[in-house]
Every structure is written in C-alpha cells, then in structure tokens.
C-alpha cells in the first residue's frame, strides 16, 4: 500500500472517531475535568486556609497531575475509550463489510485504526497536559515550578502510557468485536485485575509481566509518588521494554488476525 493511500485511510479513520460525539465528549471530560477540579479545589483550599494548604500549583501538584493523566484512572480510561471506538467502530456500524468489498486488504483496514486512535488519544491527553502545566504555573505562587526536563519527561511518560494502552485497546477490541465488552474487560483489567496480580507476592517475577508495572518503570516521578508506590516491582529497563513491546505485539497480532479471518 502506498503512503498516499495509507494517509488517506488514516484520515478516514480519524474522521470516524473524531466525529463520534459521545466518545469524544467523555474522553475530554475524563481528561480535563479531573485536572480542572484538582486545581480549583486546591486553589479554594489555599485561599481559605493558606497556613494549612500550600498553593495549588508548583512541582508537587504538577506531579500529581502527571499521575492523573499517566498512571491513574483518567488517562488510561481516555486511551481505552478511544482505542475501543477505533477498534469496533466499523463493525458496530456494519460498515466493515463495505470496506472489505473494496478489495483493500483487511490487514490494511486494521492497521489504519491504530494511528487514528493514537492521534485522537494524544490530542486529548496533550490538551489535558497543557491545562495541567497552566495550572502548575498559574497557581504556583512561591512554590518551585517543574524543570524543563521534568516537563518533557512527564509528557513522554503520559504519552507512552496512554499510547500503549490505546494500541492495546485497538487490538483487544478488534479481537473481541464488542464495544461494551471490550471497555468493561479493559477497565476491569486496568483497575482491578492488574493491580491485584501485581500484589500477589507468590507470583514472584511473573508479576513483571503486568503492563502497568512495566510502564511505571518509565515514570519520571520518584517511585513513592507513582501509582504503585511501595508495590512497584523493580525491573531493568530492558525487561520493561520487552514487557511493553510484548503486550503491543500480542494484541496487535491478535486484532489483525481476527480482522483478517472473521466473516465480514
């Protein structure tokens, strides 16, 4: 497939999910609202009791925002919503067969979903990150502000965690074929099953296979400020990369296989 057609197919897939109003609104709400609430509540607390509550901005609050968007519930949820929409949109609308009868390979139809989902997911996440930066500086008062390297590393971490989850969501939902089923399963994994498995000591080194644990390895924040805190497993950078790449490869392969072999 030539690059022109690849770009056009990416554009078409991006159009489909960008115009899905419900998904986009939920993604924006989940990404932006927690950041807004976090700074507004912090500012109110500080203004009402300055001696008890520090200003709402500064490095410490910026790091909390990074956790909201990268490691905790909200960023991953945005990634799951958008990834699942990209993975199941054609099937849910009944349009997949109309794309197949163009003669274009099913692998190409699957492949174009991935960059489209990533583009929208990252656009929403970057918007939330910029909002977090604005709040960090606007409410910093006399507190220290994050260094440029912390800002860029944090942005990279947030994009990495949401990007990986978004791609996994595209692959998983293409495999399952059901939008609600995929969303429920991925959220259950992200919020319940993953942390639960990571906390079972008897599983030993196998726990390093949990995606969250590997992703947390790339966090620019100190381990005690990360999502997992003391439960974070130590692993080498190489192991973390292998785990993350493994998850991507497995779910992309499964999604592509299902897209290629299913009755349309």
């Amino acid at each position: 497939m030539n690059p022109t057609i690849a770009m056009r197919m990416f554009g078409a897939d991006f159009l489909k999910i960008r115009k899905k109003r419900g998904t986009l609104i939920w993604a924006l709400v989940l990404a932006l609202l927690p950041v807004i609430v976090f700074f507004v509540v912090g500012a109110i607390q500080h203004s009402s009791a300055p001696s008890e509550h520090s200003p709402a901005g500064g490095t410490s609050h910026f790091e909390t925002c990074v956790q909201l968007l990268g490691g905790l519930f909200f960023g991953p949820l945005v990634a799951i919503l958008i990834g699942v929409e990209a993975g199941t949109g054609d099937l849910a609308a009944g349009v997949f067969r109309d794309l197949v009868v163009t003669g274009r390979s099913r692998a190409a139809l699957f492949a174009s979903r991935v960059p489209a989902a990533l583009a929208l997911c990252w656009a929403v996440i970057v918007a939330a990150f910029v909002l977090a930066l604005l709040g960090t500086y606007a409410f910093a008062s006399n507190l220290p502000t994050p260094s440029a390297s912390l800002i860029f590393n944090s942005l990279g971490f947030v994009l990495l965690t949401t990007g990986v989850l978004c791609v996994v969501a595209v692959g998983f939902s293409s495999l399952v074929g059901s939008k609600p089923g995929s969303i429920i399963a991925l959220i259950a994994w992200q919020l319940v099953a993953g942390p639960l498995i990571a906390s079972i000591g008897s599983l030993g080194g196998a726990r390093r296979g949990v995606l969250d644990q590997a992703l947390e390895h790339f966090s620019p924040l100190a381990p005690d400020k990360g999502r997992h805190g003391p439960t974070l497993l130590t692993m080498s950078g190489g192991t973390a990369v292998i785990v993350v790449v493994g998850w991507l490869v497995v779910f992309l392969a499964l999604g592509a296989w299902r897209t290629r072999t299913m009755d349309a």
Binding site: A12, L15, A93, R97, D98, V100, V101, G103, R104
Partner: protein, 325 residues
C-alpha cells in the same frame, strides 16, 4: 433490454462447483453460475435459498469450502484485490456510520479505494439524487435514501459489475420504480453489469435480462428471462378459440407445426413446434379446414409460473415416499 448470451466468453461472474458449508448445513451446493457482462442478471430464490451466501462468498466476506470463482476475469480469492477494484456491492441492507453525513461516509470508502475515487463522490451523489442532502447526517435519511447512498458508494468504484442484494427491500412503490429505472440505465446506457439477488419474481422479470433460480443452495436453472419463463428452450403456446374443437384437435394433431394440443378452460391450448410466427400458419391451417377461428392468442409465460413449477416440483421431490403413498 439488451440480450444476455450465457454461452459467450464475456462473463462478469463465473463459478464452478462453488460450495459453502456452515457446520452440517450446506448453504451452497456445487454452484455453477454464469453471469454475462453488460446485462442485468437476477439471482432468484426464496428466503434462505443461499442468495446472500453466494454474494458474500464472491466478495470475499466469507471463504468458500470448495469450487472456483472468477469475478471480471480474475480468480477469487487469489486475485481478490484486482477483481474487486471495479466492483460495487450492497450486501443485505446498506449500512453506514450514522453519526457522519452522506458525503463523509463516501469519503471514507473513497479513501480506502484510492485517490481517483474522491473525484467520483459528487457525480455519484448527483447520479442518485442526493446532492442536496449529502451534508446531512445519515441517521436522518429514509430507507430509500440509504439505498441510494449505497448505490452512490458502489459508484465510487466506477464499477463494471454491481452486486445488489435485495435492493428494493424497504422501498415504497415509487422508490422501487426509480430503482428499476436506475438499474436499467446502468446496463443500457452505461454498459455495466448488474447482479441483483431477489426473492421477488416480479422484480427480476421487470428488471433483468437473464436470471438463475436458486433453491436450497443449488442452482435449479439459469438462462434468459424468456427462456426461463418458457421452460428451457423457448416455448411458444397459443390459446385458440374455434367453433368445432374436436375437429380442430384432429387437424392440429396431424400438423408438423404443432407439437401438442389439448382442451383447456380458455379454449384449445396449442404448443408450437417452431417459431412464434407459425401462429399464422395455425390460423391458416384451421381456416383451410373450414373451422371458424374466433380467437388466437399467444400465451405469455411468466417467470412466476416457471418459478412455482420448479419449486413445487422440488417440494414434491422432498416429500417422503410414505407420505406420497
């Protein structure tokens, strides 16, 4: 209507021994189908006969278990991409992204087809009369408009072959008439081949040049509409009203131009051995024998009669012996 020569080499669709099974059930049982280029071809059969399954198999939506297929001269699935490059299809009802406009839905398919398809969006919308509603969301469209948008989507391929699965389902009488005219125009003015599956006999008879009748996964017969209606080779029959039926039967029975003659409720039913022009010879024969001829009317065979004959014969074949007894 353009003529459809099923023996010619210019076939838009050709299948040999095409077989598809779903578990124990055989949905397609050794289908040998020949669809001539430049014709409207009806694929006629009752619900559940296997019409949609063959369309899905031809388009690569589901895999065949046995047999070979050629679409526009390309082997499928080996050369599926080339085969489908100039094929437009509506399988079952046309489906769209409801949250997008008609034009956006076409843009999505055009992106998948290739850059040249973009330039066909506006002409395709105009061709189906949707230019003015193209920028409204599809969820606001009526069923008829969605059908037309489905055809517009097919036209993005500048198709040599259109495959339409039950295209008039859900359309009102006006919409059905419009659709028929569109199909005929595509065949007669634009030289496209249109393959229409339908369970509606009237639909196929009024729209198509040739047809295949399918039932229980098998093609029962195929040919031009006239041939099918006549029962294989063209069959010409007359209803003859005479003043002396007994003597007329004797005269006709002795003639070489008459294959068969018998009484019926309407008069004498005469099957001609040759061309329909020999009706004049029948008239002359009777008049020369001194028999008064009050009526001489060609029998118009309908596809419906033929279809009912075939399917009732099939039903009879399937009745267990003990029940027949």
């Amino acid at each position: 209507m353009s003529s459809a020569d099923l023996s010619g080499s210019g076939l838009a669709i050709e299948t040999n021994g095409l077989t598809k099974r779903f578990g124990e059930r055989t949905a397609l049982d050794g289908i040998d189908l020949r669809v001539p280029r430049g014709s409207a071809f009806g694929f006629l059969g009752p619900n559940g006969a296997g019409k949609t399954t063959i369309i899905r198999t031809l388009l690569g939506l589901t895999a065949a278990d046995a047999g070979t297929m050629h679409v526009l001269g390309h082997a499928v699935p080996q050369e599926r991409a080339q085969a489908l490059q100039r094929v437009g299809a509506i399988v079952e009802e046309p489906r769209f992204h409801m949250h997008l406009t008609g034009r956006e839905n076409l843009r999505i398919v055009a992106a998948v087809r290739g850059p040249e398809a973009d330039a066909r969006i506006d002409p395709a919308l105009a061709r189906v009369g949707l230019s003015e509603r193209a920028d409204q969301k599809v969820k606001s469209y009526s069923m008829g408009m969605r059908q037309r948008l489905g055809v517009a989507r097919c036209l993005l391929a500048d198709p040599l072959l259109l495959i339409l699965d039950e295209p008039t389902n859900g359309l009102d009488p006006g919409g059905i008439q419009e659709f028929r005219e569109m199909i005929r125009a595509m065949v007669e003015q634009e030289g496209r081949t249109v393959f229409v599956s339908s369970h509606l006999l009237d639909e196929v008879e009024k729209t198509c040049d040739a047809a295949a009748i399918v039932d229980r996964g098998k093609i029962i017969t195929q040919g031009t509409i006239a041939d099918l209606a006549g029962g294989g080779a063209a069959r010409h029959e007359l209803i003859v009203g005479v003043d002396d039926p007994d003597r007329a039967l004797g005269v006709l029975g002795a003639s070489e131009i008459v294959l068969e003659s018998h009484r019926s409720d309407e008069g004498l039913r005469v099957v001609l051995a040759g061309e329909p022009q020999s009706a004049a010879q029948v008239n002359a024969l009777l008049v020369n024998a001194g028999i008064g001829v009050a009526r001489l009317e060609p029998v118009r065979h309908s596809l419906e009669q033929r279809f009912l004959e075939i399917t009732s014969r099939l039903d009879a074949d399937l009745v267990p012996e003990e029940v027949k007894a």
